[in-house]
Symmetry: C2
Subunit: 303 residues, 2 copies
C-alpha cells in the first residue's frame, strides 16, 4: 500500500506518493492560490494530487495525509483561522478534501507532521521521546513523548514558537502577544538583527550571514552566537517541560546546524538542570520532506 501525502504551504502545495518505508515515489507541486479562497485551494490540492498520482494504481492507495498550517483542530479536521489563507475560518478542511479526493483524509499540524516524519524516517528513528523544532519564518514544533505523538486539545499542542521567552519585553509576535520565542529566535528575527547590525558588510539574509561567519566575519560570528544563545534559552525550557532524549532542529536555519550547535549545547550544559543535560541535539535528516513523510505515516497508522 501507498499513501498520498500533502504539504499545504503559504506559497506552494506539494503532494507525493509515499510507500511504507518512507520512499517518495513521485512528487508534484503547484502554487497555493490562497487569495482565491477556500474552494480554489481545495481544487488546487486536488490537481496537485492528481499530478503526483499519474501512473499509479489507485487501488494501491491507502489514504491521504495532509500537513496543514495552524491553528487547526486536527482532531475534528477544522481550520480555525489560518493566517495568510483568507476565508479559512472554521472551515472543515478534512471533510472538503475527503469529498474532493473521494478518500479518507487525516490532518496534522505541519510542524507535528514534520516531527512524525523525522521520528519514523529521519533523525528521530528509534526514539520514544523527542522534540522537533523548525526554525524558519517562524518557529514551530512537534513532540513525541512516551512513544506517542503529543497532540493535546484540538491537536494544538507544541506551539513552541509561542513559548514566552521574554514575556515582559515589547517585542511583538505575529500571534499578537509580546516576547514569544519566535519573535526573538526565528529566521525572520535573525535577519532583522542582521539588518540592524552596523557595518556587517554582507547582505542581511541568513545564508549570507552564515557564509560570512564561516569566512571569519566577526560581526556575523557574533550574530550566529546570539542566535544560538536565543535558541538555547528556549530549548532549555522545552527540555524541562517535555523531557526528550533528542532535540531535532529543522527549518531554514537548520541548514547551518554545525555553526549553531556548539552555542546551543554550551547553553544547555550551563543552564539546564543536571538530569536533562545529556540530551542529544541533532539536525533534521529529511529537511523539506519531513512534513510529507509525517503525513504519510498518519495514513499508515504509524503515528
Amino acid at each position: 500500500m501507498k499513501a498520498i501525502a500533502i504539504d499545504l504551504g503559504g506559497t506552494s502545495i506539494r503532494a507525493a506518493v509515499v510507500d511504507r518505508e518512507g520512499q517518495i515515489l513521485s512528487r508534484s507541486k503547484r502554487a497555493t492560490p490562497a487569495q482565491y479562497g477556500v474552494q480554489a485551494v481545495i481544487n488546487q490540492i486536488k490537481a496537485t494530487v492528481e499530478d503526483a498520482l499519474k501512473g499509479f494504481d489507485v487501488a494501491d492507495i491507502a489514504g491521504v495525509g495532509l500537513a496543514s498550517p495552524g491553528p487547526i483542530d486536527t482532531i475534528e479536521g477544522v481550520a480555525l483561522g489560518l493566517p495568510n489563507f483568507p476565508g479559512f475560518d472554521n472551515v472543515p478542511i478534512r471533510q472538503l478534501l475527503a469529498e474532493a479526493l473521494r478518500r479518507d483524509v487525516k490532518v496534522e499540524n505541519d510542524a507535528i507532521a514534520a516531527a512524525i516524519g523525522e521520528w519514523r524516517f529521519g533523525a528521530g528513528r528509534g526514539s520514544d521521546n523527542l522534540v522537533y523544532i523548525t526554525v524558519s519564518t517562524g518557529i514551530g514544533g512537534g513532540v513525541i513523548a512516551d512513544g506517542r505523538v503529543l497532540r493535546g486539545r484540538r491537536g494544538m499542542a507544541c506551539h513552541v514558537g509561542h513559548l514566552g521567552l521574554f514575556p515582559d519585553r515589547d517585542v511583538y509576535c505575529n500571534c499578537g502577544n509580546r516576547g514569544c520565542w519566535e519573535a526573538f529566535a526565528s529566521g525572520t528575527a535573525f535577519e532583522k538583527r542582521a539588518r540592524e547590525r552596523q557595518g556587517l558588510g554582507v547582505n542581511p539574509d541568513a545564508p549570507s550571514v552564515f557564509a560570512a561567519a564561516r569566512q571569519g566575519n566577526s560581526d556575523a560570528i557574533q550574530l550566529v552566537a546570539e542566535e544560538a544563545h536565543l535558541l538555547g534559552l528556549g530549548i532549555i525550557s522545552l527540555l524541562h517541560l517535555y523531557s526528550p532524549d533528542r532535540v531535532i532542529l529543522g527549518g531554514g536555519l537548520s541548514h547551518h546546524f554545525d555553526l549553531l550547535k556548539p552555542g546551543i549545547i554550551a547553553e544547555i550544559k550551563q543552564y539546564a538542570m543536571l538530569a536533562f543535560r545529556s540530551v542529544e541535539l541533532l539536525q533534521a535528516e529529511q529537511v523539506d520532506n519531513s512534513g510529507l513523510l509525517g503525513a504519510a505515516a498518519l495514513v499508515f497508522g504509524t503515528a
Copy 2:
C-alpha cells in the same frame, strides 16, 4: 482490591490505604528522617505503611504506589539526587522499597502523581487534556495529554517550575539556573516580595497577605495582582505547549484561588493565542490528597 499509597515529603511521610473509588480508608504520618540517610528513610516508610495497614487484610492489597520528590527516574525507579535527601543519589528507591515491603512498587514524581490524583478523583475528572500546577515552596506540575499521563524520558517531563520566565534576569533558582518561573512565582517568591514591600503592615507570610488583601489592604492587593500576573505569564506558555482544556491549580497558594483566578484569567484573555483562551482554570479538589490518590491510581492501572 485496595492500594497502599505513599507520599514522601521533605518533612513528613504519609501513607494511606485507598480503594478504587479514591476513598482514603486509613492514613498515617511520620516524620521524614532525611538526615539519617537512605536506610533510615526506607525503614520509616515501612513503619508508616504498617501504621496505615493496621486492621486491613493484606491479601486485599493490590500493590504500592509512591509519590516521590524529583529528580527521579520513575521508569527505572531510581532517585537521581534528591535535594534535601542526603545520599539519595542514584539510589534504586523502587527496588529498596519493594524489598522492604515485599510488594510490587510503582513510583511517580510527586507533582505528576498529584496531576493523576486530580485527573481520576478531583477537578480533572473526565478531561483528556489537563495541566496541573502546584504552587508552594516551589512550582511543580503534571500533564495529562490525549488521555494519558505525559512522562517523557526517565519520567521527568513537566518540570514546569523550570520554565524560563525571564531567563536573562539574575534571579537565581534552587535548580542553579536563573530566571525560572518558580524563582518568580512560587509561594517562596511571593513571600519574598511581601517582605520587601515597605509598609505592608502585616506578616509577610502568604496566609496573612491574602487575608489582608481580603480586608482591602492595597499593598496586599497589589502583591496578589503581581502574583496572578506572574502565574498567568507562565500558564500562557503552558497552554501553547500542552494545549490543555483545563488548568488545575494546587499547592499552598491555591487555597487563595478565588483571589488569584481573575488576574490569571485576564492575562490569558489578553495574551494567549485566540484558539487557546477558552481553557478552564480550576482549583484542585483533593488538595493535600492529590499525590496519595495519584499513587493509588498507579497501582490500579488507571494511570
